[in-house]
């Protein structure tokens, strides 16, 4: 008899399948990712901390797991939902199977036919808590549902500290050293400092607990706030740190959570999207040029800012620089009187298209301009 695994959503909807990865139980916010490539990057993206991720692409694990593509040192997702897990790893770079990697790291998953039904459900009802159960953790559904409802919610969760580096570390620039960047790790992906280093930046990666003083003590040419998990409304500490940076006039660049932190530092509200953007095919328009870039996304929260033109903030005028063409969601902010900008999506890609890589060049240009000024 095939073993069973069960996915229980907080609203009572239940999906049946078979165990994948580790056996046991896990809880988290149920979200879906529409990327057709890049499961390894997704799994190791710290922003997925405390989330159970369902892949809409049916075949997962085909290329196994290699040593080059992880975005951090571990798998962060709380649970993994797939339709057709691969039995073989077909890639010249593969070192082990995805199933083994999940099992080694104790990530409880489920393989089930209903991934599309799940996605449609989340699309209509919004992201919600869920639990995956297999093996000894199996129990009557009512009991499992109760366990799901007891698990913590994502709204109001302060998680950056849980995923951030414990101590600072430094990436050396590739080639000539051009700039020094202080990067606050709120759940940073490996590719982000990598992209800066490729462009001649020495990147000091600092823990989420870094204060303005810690940051400026490095004498950076620019400051960066990374992506990360959780509700930006709980990130008062980071918001304070960023305000200090803005006050100092040091150039700033933020990605994802960093964009939300900038929004809050400017006094803008943030809110939870119904089911978020998670995938690698989101069309974002750069409003300055009218050009569209296909971008990598992973966010459940967004900044609420006026779309109809520049607006005033405690740091001078600001504008929404980028919008999502699917739902007009704010995807980028820019201060017009100070050297600061941020985007809600992932120019470092990994996984995803490289269309927005130019933003790292813009950060360099900003630092260059500030140094000259």
């Amino acid at each position: 008899m095939t073993e069973t695994a069960i996915l229980v959503l907080e609203d009572g909807r239940v999906f049946n399948g078979t165990p994948y990865g580790a056996v046991g139980e896990t809880f988290g916010e149920m979200v879906f990712n529409t990327g057709m490539t890049g499961y390894q990057e997704t799994l190791t993206d710290p922003s997925y901390h405390r989330q159970i991720v369902a892949m809409t692409a049916p075949h997962i694990g085909n290329t196994g797991v290699n040593d080059e593509d992880p975005e951090s040192t571990r798998i962060w997702v709380a649970g993994y939902v797939v339709r057709e897990p691969s039995r073989v790893s077909s890639s010249w770079r593969a070192r082990r199977s995805l199933d083994d990697a999940l099992r080694e790291q104790g990530v409880v998953g489920i393989a089930m036919p209903g991934t599309r039904a799940l996605t449609r459900h989340l699309r209509e009802r919004g992201a919600m808590r869920a639990g995956v159960f297999s093996g000894a953790a199996l129990a009557p559904v009512e009991e499992l549902l109760e366990r799901v409802r007891q698990s913590p919610k994502m709204a109001g969760a302060d998680l950056a500290g849980e995923v951030s580096t414990a101590s600072p570390y430094v990436l050396s620039p590739v080639g000539e050293h051009r700039f020094t960047v202080a990067a606050v790790d709120l759940g940073i992906k490996a590719m982000t400092p990598e992209r800066m280093s490729q462009r001649g930046c020495r990147v000091h990666v600092l823990p989420a607990s870094a204060t303005t003083a810690d940051i400026l003590a490095l004498g950076p040419d620019g400051v960066f706030f990374s992506n990360g998990p959780g509700d930006p409304a709980t990130a008062g500490f980071a918001v304070e740190a960023l305000r200090g940076v803005l006050d100092s006039g040091t150039p700033f660049f933020g990605i994802c959570f960093g964009n939300q932190i900038l929004g809050r530092a400017l006094g803008l509200p943030t809110y939870k999207l119904r089911y978020g953007h998670r995938g690698v095919n989101q069309p974002v328009m750069d409003r300055r040029t009218g050009k569209v870039e296909i971008t990598s996304h992973n966010h459940g929260f967004a900044v609420d800012a006026p779309l109809d033109g520049p607006f005033d903030t405690p740091y001078g005028r600001a504008e929404v620089s980028h919008v999502n063409l699917n739902d007009n969601c704010v995807e980028g902010l820019r201060l017009l009187d100070r050297p600061a900008f941020s985007v809600q999506y992932h120019p470092e890609a990994a996984a995803g298209p490289h269309d927005a890589a130019y933003l790292f060049d813009e950060f360099n240009a900003l630092m260059e301009g500030h140094r000259r000024a």
């Binding site: 529409t34 075949h59 077909s90 010249w92 599309r116 069309p283 009218g290 050009k291 569209v292 296909i294």
Partner: protein
Amino acid sequence: MPKRTDISSVMVIGSGPIVIGQACEFDYSGTQACRVLRAEGFRVVLVNSNPATIMTDPEFADATYVEPITPEIVEKIIDRERPDALLATLGGQTALNTAMALHEAGVLERYGVELIGADVDAIQSGENREKFKEIVAKVAREHGLNAESARSAICHTLEQCLAAAEELGYPVVVRPSFTMGGVGSGFAHDEAALRRIAGAGLDASPTSEVLLEESILGWKEYELEVMRDRADNVVIVCSIENLDPMGVHTGDSITVAPAMTLTDREYQNMRDVAIAVIREVGVDTGGCNIQFAVDPGTGRMIVIEMNPRVSRSSALASKATGFPIAKIAAKLAIGYTLPEIPNDITKETPASFEPSLDYVVVKVPRFAFEKFAGADQTLTTHMKSVGEAMAIGRSFPEALQKALRSLESKGSSFTFDDEPGDRAELVAAAATPRDGRLATVMRAIRAGAGAEELFESTRIDPWFLDQLYVIHEVAEELGAAPALSADELVKAKRYGFSDAQIAGIRGLAEAEVRALRHTLGVRPVYNTVDTCAAEFAAATPYLYSTYDEEDEVPLGDRPKVIILGSGPNRIGQGIEFDYACVHASFELSAAGFETVMVNCNPETVSTDYDTSDRLYFEPLTLEDVLEVVHAEQRTGPVAGVIVQLGGQTPLGLAQALKDAGVPVVGTSPESIHLAEERGAFGRVLAEAGLPAPKHGTALTVEEATEIAGEIGYPVLVRPSYVLGGAGMAIVYDDDNLARYMERAAADHPVLIDRFLDEAIEIDVDALYDGSELYLGGVMEHIEEAGIHSGDSACALPPITLGSLDIKRIRAATEAIAEGVGVRGLLNVQYAMSAGVLYVLEANPRASRTVPFVSKATAVPLAKAAARVMMGTTVAELRAEGMLPAEGDGGTLPLSAPIAVKEAVLPFNRFRGVDTVLGPEMRSTGEVMGIDEVFGHAYAKSQDAAYGQLPTKGRAFVSVANRDKRAMVFPVKALADLGFEILATEGTAEVLRRNGVRAKIVRKHSDGAAPGGEPTIVGRILDGEVDLIVNTPFGSPGQSGPRLDGYEIRTAAVLRGIPCITTVQGLAAAVQGIQAIVRGEVGVRSLQEHAERLRGHGDSRGDA
């Protein structure tokens, strides 16, 4: 950037006749383009010689020219129409080449026509290998990307070759320069082979030059479909991975979307390269595709080529993703940008995105090797398939198995209940790519082959091989299960097993499995192709079946009509049937029905989600159709299912559908049987007093000889269990009859008919509502009887039949329609011999000629047929103006234009196959020449099909004895036109006695003379001959004249010289040549022809 306002009229060039490698995908793209351009208010001028296309319907363009797609003719059209712009990226290589020729001749500049889509530089950069190599190198260098071109070296001596091979590494590909048709090329696996192949290659090359290239055989092969707009926004619509590794043409490969075995890093590198290349090449707007090869051992990536235009793969990608590449390409060409265009499927989001798939799409090729005895069946880089089927599933195994059964060819689905065969033999056999290789791989798996040895043999990616093992394991589990439970059934279904396959595994009948499955409530659900993996709601019902959790079939509000399409293109069943289905859908939707299309051919217009109210991308098997009908009945009333428009495929399902309680509309299944079953049809004819050729049925040589003796030679023989002319032959004597009978399957009867030599064959398409017959058109074949109607040229109106003949044809057709009980379309084939009108066969369905007749007579026959099937009468259709108020296709005025249909044959793809025409259809497509007089129309048809008829030079004539009398006048006419006549001895004698100076040339069987005088074959190969007239004689298997003819026709194909194989064809050609010589072959649009037809309402009448 909104729509351009500086242009107001656009010329669109289509792709001409369906040929291997250029099929109805360009009708799909062209139709989309025309629709978009007209909706945007442009005046559309269309040129396409193919009358079977939907795009050449007069309603899709303002001026539709069914004229040869040659630079000369297109220039004439430009001169008349003065378009502002030319869109040439949606009509395949034909359109692109024509546009380039017009540019090079200065025509575009002279008339101020702007090339939109891709400009001249971009087309040249994309098409020129050397330029493209430079671009790839530049892109890799400047962007730091992993991309190369295959390494190669040009060598002039054997020493250089050996040195270069050391550098490149064995095996190397050897390509001699400037040899024809790849003569002298090959793979050298070691030094000895290289010495042999390169040595011969250096000899064969007139410049003593060979190109050595590293081999990328067996590498993984990928394709990306890219769109770019004029604001430089670029998106990748789809990635496609070939299951068959490098070495098999992508058109002949099993392909999968999205790519299955790439990590994000490799995929993004490929994406970056694609985007950088399209920018560098400079395709300003529109779609293009780029092909890649990846070394499975190291990941080294080679950019193979790009097409700066919409392609077969774009059609596949459009159907696979719901992103309509051609439609968007047309919008981009007229100035819109991607973010300005909405995504049709979601309506809410823009087209500037990359589709995400939560399903797997598999395309499988359909071949027709059985039609081309002697053809090499190994799959190579030269495309040989004639069609394809696509299927969608929620997993690769499900999609693959659905696709394989969509092929409708015997043995295409995996079987698990027979002896697999010997493991080692199967593994070895799987090494050669050929039709059905995957079935061989599955047999090898069943025989115990391991994944590694199969990979070594096939180089199919281990992931795909493992998926085959999964399918095998599910089959084993299914076979071992104590009973068929719902769980077992669901599991088998999720891996794509059909009821028939399950029945085979369990030793049950298919119907039993289905009944059990329905009892257990195991039914598919239908998911939506939504472009976004369910992230957004879909507004367009484009559906596929799967055994998943939620059904997404929307509720209907109108009575529904389900139209069954024709499945993969094959010889004898192609685009013509798609035309009929699409027309029915348009018309019935307008008449208030909700139209539901079921089809599995990704090349077609019918599988465009814009065509019908709902689209089911499904195999056309009984099981799959019954489930669609069930799903539709659950969501609203189904008024009828139409089976008579999609050709033999749906027609074959009619009775079973009716038996299952499905409302089949139009001609009833019982009536279809009356027409198809010989005995029953014989009784219908007898009752109507209509003669058929004498015939009989034989199982043994003795029986056959006796019957042939009774009815007299020559006889037409064919197996009784096939349709469409497969296995047919004309036999002239006892010996050959015995040989045929020995080859024929032992347990199947052979039908023997009197073959009406020297008869005129006539094809009729008619419409019957139960009381009134509308004669759509009467077509007279140009070739003699015995050539399949699909391969034969024909003229409409008939050029040698009088009104009395037509009156008899009308009466006979009426009698058959009534006797059979037709409601809708009927096609009848007649032979007129010695004043007797024989009935050859009747098909109570849309025929291949319906679109031709519709265009030649300006009457939408298929639309009218759809209405008749739903209960409207011919009289009512006359009253509403769909049919002419009076008269029909049998009463065309004498001033009506003459339309000539000519078949296009794929012999250049199958070297070594005899090109002589016979009763078995082998053409892939057709063209139409239309003009006021027959000679002009015939000349145009030849120009469109094969290139312009020669007007001077040398004509070689060699005819069978029976043709010697009839050839004299036309050959004399050729001589009068200034042709130098060459002939073989016997023919030359006859010609000389009749005052035609003919020079005797050596036969092939004579061999070259000692003094070096070449044979006729040598002369043809040397390009000394401009026109060949060679009518075949003798029978297969004989030597002498028969073999001579074979060599002559093969040489003609090799050199692309017009080769006429019938005396009737010769007479027509002479008229055509005279028309060209007299000058001015004009052009005129279908709309103008229709205007003239309407203007001459006074019919000549046949009574």
